[in-house]
Structure formats: structure tokens, C-alpha cells
Symmetry: C2
Subunit: 221 residues, 2 copies
DNA sequence: GTCTATATTTCGATAGAC
DNA sequence: GTCTATCGAAATATAGAC
């Protein structure tokens, strides 16, 4: 019985240290980029000697790869709201809410992902070509069904998805710019709510999934 | 006459070499990030010895600063379409077209800017707090007038601007992802046109500046 | 203005005691 | 599993001949 117990304890230590290192790495990679990040900076942020990082993660690239995969999987789960929704108002509405929530709670991961894609996806190109492509085509099919059912206007599904990604992730990736234009203060709870509602309103109205607001419903050219 | 002539010739050489170096630097900074970029890579891309870069730009950071300022000024000029427009359809429509065109023609500059902002704007924070803030408040005022005149729905002007920036720049910053989802091929002329029209259509419809397309105008809940 | 050679620093990674 | 000391590679920047 002692062997499994020792192994279990060692595993617990390993799991906890990996968690601490990954959190520190996510922040440093987001703030300095892969090239600008140093193992020393990550070690300091994690409160560990630099050599310990190499004990848990053989190379800087392996550590980086784990960070990128983390945010990617979080985003994939957010798409659950998309499926089984009766229509675009519920499906796309819930997806925007989920993505905005992730932008607020995981701004570092979002930035690491953006940086990785901007640099040509050197370490996650295979994910783009397999998992992301399949995910995208699946949602494109759902959007096409909604269009065919007359529940939204016949917009291009791919460009709609790009708009959803762009608008929601912008609040994480360009959060520093938004904060500066907000008088140097981070968005409050109320402002995050307003941002989410603004995105939902413009997109859902823009694709014809909800009616135009009353005060403009009698629009004339 | 010989002194001014020599000076002029020297200036011409300087200007041309700076142009070559800046173009090479923009590409390398975009593809590798500030930390990942090396003076050697930039020199190779420019076809010059590394020492010549330091002759024209004292430090790597000074060279980087010039690249960031370049794209920022291009974007500022694109906003001319915003002003003197009679309404949101013309103003915002032209702005989207101009920004999409920049995303296509200056993808490297867009990525360098995105990377700079994501890392907390270490070298252009003053621009954000002065020029960008003034530019933004000026356009917010224009949008408010359009809303007051009943030419568009009462959306939050700041969040609308963020949406315009996010959607248009996404085609440059995440161009690699879009290309991958497009079967590994860059967007064609036709596809860029479709992307621009898609963004314009959803946004202008979403803010109530154009009527809903005919086939959905008799929407019922 | 151009270019080769090099000084100096810093980083990723490892050795080896504990 | 932890940590100090250090190696070797690579980077920025400069010196100095042409």
C-alpha cells in the first residue's frame, strides 16, 4: 500500500507545481511574448528557482505549448452554448456571453493565443488544421440551418464567426487600450455587462435575429 | 552649390536606406515579436550588414518605435472618411472599407500594433493617452450627433468603435487563422470584397442605420 | 557611409550536491 | 524533488579599418 501512496503524494506535488508554473508562464508570455519571456522571469513570478522549471518542463517551448493548449480548450468548451440552441438568439447570444466572460477571466491566455496566431501559429498549426477546422465547419452548418429556417438573415457564416471571435477577444487582447480610453480604469462590472449587451445587440440585430428596437422600427430612407 | 548638393544626396541615401530597413523591420517584428526579432534577421531581410542598422537606428527599440508610429498614422488618416460624412451609412461604411483595405495592404503593421498594445503599450503609451484619446472622443461626438438626429439606434459609441477596430483588424492580425480555415489559401479579391460587405452589412444593420433586408423585414417574434 | 571583427551581456539549459 | 553554480550559444551594440 505504501507504493501507491508515495506515488500519489508525488503526483499531487507535481500537479500543484505544474499549476503554479503554468499560471506564471501564462502571465509572462502574455505580457512579454514568447521571445521576450525568459525562464528567469517565469521562475520569479512562480516563486521557484529557475532550474525547477526545467525539471517540470524540459524546454521553454514545451511550457509555452501547454499554455496555448489551455486557452484553446477553454474556448472549445464555450461553444457548448452554440449547440442544442433552438435558434440564433439563444445560441449566438449565449456564445457571445461565454466568450466575453472568458475574455474577462482569462485575458492572459487570450493574448498568448493571439500572439501565437499572429506569428503564424508555429506550435499549434496542427490544431488549426484539425480541431478548429472541424469545430468551425460544424457551427457553419448550424448557422446555415438557422438561415434556411428563416430565423436569421442570409449572412456568410464564416465572416459571422470571425466577427464573434474578433469582437469578444478584442476586450481581452486590446484590454490595455480600452482601459486607457476608459480613463485608465479597468472596466467595472456594469461596463462589462454593457459591453456584452452592446455586442449582442448589434450582432443579433445585424443578422436579423431580433427585431430592430421600437424607436427606429419605422425607419424610412 | 556643392555643399547643399552633397547634403541632398546624402539625405536621399539616408531616406532610401531608412525606408528599406523600416519595411524589413515591420515584417520581422510582426512575424517574431519584439523579443523574438533580432537585428541580424532584420539586416538579412533588408540585405544590409547588421552594423548599418545601428548606423541608421541607434537601438532596436528606436527602430521598433518608428515602425509602430507608421501604422498608427496610417490608421489616423483612414478616419478622414469618418468626418464630413452626412450620416452613419456613408461615414461608418467608408471607415470600414478604409480599415479593411489597410488590413489587407499593411498586415505586418497591424500585427506590430496589436502586439505592442497586448504587451501594455510600453513604447506608445503616450500616443494612447493623447492622440488616440482625442481622436476617439471626437468620433464619439459625431456618433452621438447621428443618434440624436435619429439616423441610427442609440448604441454605445465607444463599444461601437471597439467593434469596428476589432472586426477590421481581425482580418490582418488573425489572417493566418482565416487563411488556414480557407483551405490554406489567402483570401481572393472576391473574398476580401465579401468580407468587407459582410462586416458593413451586419454593423450598419445592427446599429439601425440601414433597413433590414427585404426578405426578413416582416419579422415576427 | 560601409563593413568586419569583437566586446559584453543575457539567455536556455544542465551538472551535481543536498 | 530542490537549488546553486556554471556552461555554451546567441543577442545587442560598438570599435575601427576602409
Amino acid at each position: 500500500m505504501s507504493a501507491p501512496e508515495r506515488l500519489s503524494k508525488r503526483d499531487a506535488i507535481r500537479r500543484e507545481n505544474e499549476r503554479i508554473i503554468l499560471a506564471a508562464a501564462e502571465k509572462v508570455f502574455a505580457e512579454a511574448g514568447f521571445g521576450g519571456a525568459t525562464m528567469q522571469l517565469i521562475a520569479d513570478m512562480a516563486g521557484l528557482p529557475k532550474a525547477n522549471l526545467h525539471y517540470y518542463f524540459a524546454t521553454k517551448e514545451e511550457l509555452y505549448r501547454r499554455v496555448v493548449r489551455q486557452i484553446f480548450e477553454i474556448w472549445l468548451h464555450a461553444a457548448d452554448s452554440f449547440d442544442n440552441a433552438p435558434g440564433p438568439v439563444e445560441g449566438i447570444g449565449a456564445y457571445i456571453e461565454a466568450k466575453m466572460d472568458i475574455s474577462r477571466r482569462h485575458p492572459f491566455g487570450s493574448k498568448v493565443w493571439a500572439s501565437e496566431v499572429m506569428h503564424g501559429a508555429p506550435v499549434i498549426q496542427d490544431y488549426l488544421e484539425t480541431t478548429l477546422r472541424e469545430w468551425t465547419e460544424g457551427r457553419v452548418a448550424v448557422i446555415r440551418r438557422w438561415i434556411a429556417a428563416g430565423r436569421m438573415a442570409p449572412v456568410d457564416p464564416h465572416h459571422l464567426l470571425y466577427m464573434l471571435w474578433a469582437t469578444t477577444q478584442h476586450y481581452a487582447d486590446f484590454g490595455h487600450q480600452i482601459e486607457t480610453l476608459n480613463g485608465g480604469r479597468a472596466l467595472s462590472d456594469r461596463q462589462w455587462k454593457a459591453a456584452t449587451e452592446s455586442v449582442k445587440s448589434i450582432v443579433l440585430t445585424g443578422i436579423g435575429a431580433v427585431p430592430r428596437p421600437e424607436d427606429l422600427s419605422n425607419w424610412t430612407s
